[in-house]
């Protein structure tokens, strides 16, 4: 897909705006009045009938989407600063720009459905119910982190909410996700698993191995390709002979979705869940974009132009899309939305402050969690005569 530059005055909101008149302004609406919206572009199906692009929503949902995406955006930007001040070490892969995928998916499913993703996992973790404190503490390697500081940025988990990580090996999470679906089917749960991966991982052989078995055994597995068009520094056209990732399933149906439109994502995930429970696997290709580079070690501008990045930010930003919808439906004013963003900023700052006060893990934690059941075996430190522990 080509990211063409269109000038700003061609950008239209999704519905005709009513000009703002203070006297008929309503305060925040939390009622469930029905609002009809259309996705930015129609869905494109591969071996399936795409869902309609007209969707019903409510003021409450719109406000929740705005709030959740604003929180995620703020978290990632704050993580950028923390990394630059060396409070976060190692790898840090940021998700800003892709928030609509995390938020739209959550809106379509329950916490009994499972999600597994790769290393760009901070916002998915938040969407699954993780707290800002758990996220920041984990990033900084403190004991209040979601993995007690022992995982780091790439290894966030929240099993009780159906979030299975957080994986560092590109592509490995896809067969694992099919395994989650296998277990759900085996236990006769009526739930599905979403295995998320990027356009870079889409070429992995194990993905096709897992796809074959998922189709063979009718597993309720949904393959979600978050196509942000770059596998680290390699553009999709340089890595894939066929970048139509939603078609790569061949015998498995697929859907191409505007991943910057939270309603399109929600509609697609709802459709996919119904499909997977009846007919087995389906592939969703989310056309999305990351503003940051691949990770904090990558400026992200050596393999793409700054114009491209700012162009997408201006024309397709998921938060801006919702902002315009909210304002045009008079659910809140610009100022009120700015206040929400300020509130999210405050929440993030507060969480960072708390996370900074969280201590590092106790040295004894070096030897915990090696096994679920250790039999009192001995484990050794670097100098085995000096540091020794018994595994519980």
């Amino acid at each position: 897909m080509a990211l063409t530059r269109r000038s700003c005055n061609l950008l239209k909101p999704l519905t005709t705006p009513i000009s703002y008149i203070p006297s008929i302004h309503r305060p925040f609406s939390t009622d469930d009045a029905k609002i009809t919206v259309e996705t930015s572009v129609p869905f494109i199906g591969h071996k399936c009938e795409p869902p309609p692009r007209t969707i019903e929503t409510t003021p409450k949902e719109l406000m929740t989407f705005f709030r959740d995406m604003a929180k995620m955006r703020r978290m990632e930007i704050a993580a950028d600063s923390l990394y630059k001040s060396k409070l976060i070490r190692g790898f840090c892969h940021l998700y800003d720009g892709q928030e609509a995928v995390a938020v739209g998916m959550e809106a379509a499913i329950t916490k009994k459905d499972c999600i597994i993703t790769a290393y760009r996992d901070h916002c998915i973790f938040l969407g699954r119910g993780g707290t800002l404190l758990e996220a920041f503490a984990e990033l900084m390697g403190r004991k209040d982190g979601c993995s007690k500081g022992k995982g780091g940025s790439m290894h966030f988990y929240k099993k009780e909410a159906g979030f299975y990580g957080g994986h560092g090996i590109v592509g490995a999470q896809v067969p694992l996700g099919c395994g989650l679906a296998f277990a759900q089917k085996y236990s006769k749960e009526e739930h599905v698993s979403f295995a998320m991966y990027g356009d870079g991982a889409a070429n992995q052989g194990q993905l096709f191995e897992a796809l074959n078995m998922a189709a063979l055994w009718d597993l309720p597995a949904i393959f979600v390709c978050e196509n942000n068009h770059y596998g680290m520094g390699t553009a999709e056209w340089r890595a894939a002979k066929s970048p139509a990732y939603y078609k790569r399933g061949d015998y498995v149906p697929g859907l191409k979705v505007d991943g910057m439109d939270v309603f399109a994502v929600k509609q697609a995930c709802k459709y996919a869940k119904e499909h997977a429970l009846k007919n087995g696997p389906i592939i969703l290709e989310m056309d999305t974009y990351r503003y940051h580079g691949h990770s904090m070690s990558d400026p992200g501008s050596t393999y793409r132009t700054r114009d491209e990045i700012s162009g997408v930010r201006q024309e397709r930003d998921p938060i801006e899309r919702i902002r315009k919808l909210i304002v045009s439906h008079e659910l809140a004013t610009e100022k009120e939305l700015k206040d929400i963003e300020k509130e999210m900023r405050k929440e993030v700052d507060e969480a960072i402050k708390q996370a900074k006060e969280s201590p590092m893990p106790d040295p004894s934690e070096l030897f915990t969690n090696v096994y679920a059941k250790g039999f009192g075996v001995e484990a050794y430190g670097a100098d085995r005569k000096e540091v020794k522990a018994v595994l519980p």
């Binding site: 694992l176 191995e209 679920a372």
Partner: protein
Amino acid sequence: MWGIVRRRFISNLRTQIQSVVYASGFYSSSAKQMTVRDALNSALDEEMAADPTVFLMGEEVGEYQGAYKITRGLLDKYGPDRVLDTPITEAGFTGIAVGAAYHGLKPVVEFMTINFAMQAIDHIINSAAKSNYMSASQISVPIVFRGPNGAAAGVGAQHSQCYAPWYGSCPGLKVLVPYSSEDARGLLKAAIRDPDPVVFLENELLYGESFPVSAAVLDSSFCLPIGKAKTEREGKDVTITAFSKMVGLALEAAEILEKDGISAEVINLRSIRPLDRAAINTSVRKTNRLVTVEEGFPQHGVGAEICTSVIEDSFEYLDATIERIAGADVCMPYAANLERMAVPQVEDIVRAAKRTCYISV
């Protein structure tokens, strides 16, 4: 404790029956014989009957009854939902099995040989072994990876490697190496019940061998502890450690050494990780001499770890240098005479034991 061995010698005029004392009870001289194959099969059967979350996955485990017939009859008994024939896609099905374990099932994954597990080794190490640690115990992985390991007969270089040292070095994994039918039953049951990932290294040439099994071993609740070695034969002059098929050779070597006045203690490791350092060191402190035996490549092998462990913990007790018998440092050749040279033989173990006793060979 005396080990119990009843061996069938191909061209033997006499059989030796050694009496046995089990911790649990008495030994009847007319104990039932069971092949390792049947031991593994019965263990799988019983664990699947006891726990509905246990399921099998692998190539040919179902309709073919198992490439080595280890899973014979289980498809008929438990159905295709619990005994799954997979396509020839190790990376994919191992990943699926690990994901199923994340979500609370207990998969037993069969690799047709452990050589093929290399295609899936990322899932064994990175997805299974490390998950409990990285998630601070949120995600435990109760999975068993099993299959024949090491040399068979005439199968060539790509089908003959021993992976005990590789898996044995990884924190988060447990690695078990059964020898007898009792080992096979007890350790496989323990592995399936264990909440951590277990690599269960069998041996193709042992599948058809019979061993006596007592009533206690045949009971469905029978289980062996993970991480404990077994003294198969007591002795006082030299300790010989071995695992899997090599235990049989070590016992034969001990018989030969006995005639030459050397009393060898044979330790069946049973567990590579955790390694029973206490048992090994206790034995060496008694005998003052050690020969390690393994089938795999010598460099960075199991013997290297045992040797270092003994030097660290029992240096003053050693009366001779530690001898290491291992496979030859070459790819496994096909020609029968070369293959024989590439794998330890009984004479090698005897010679090494005599060297530790400063007896000329």
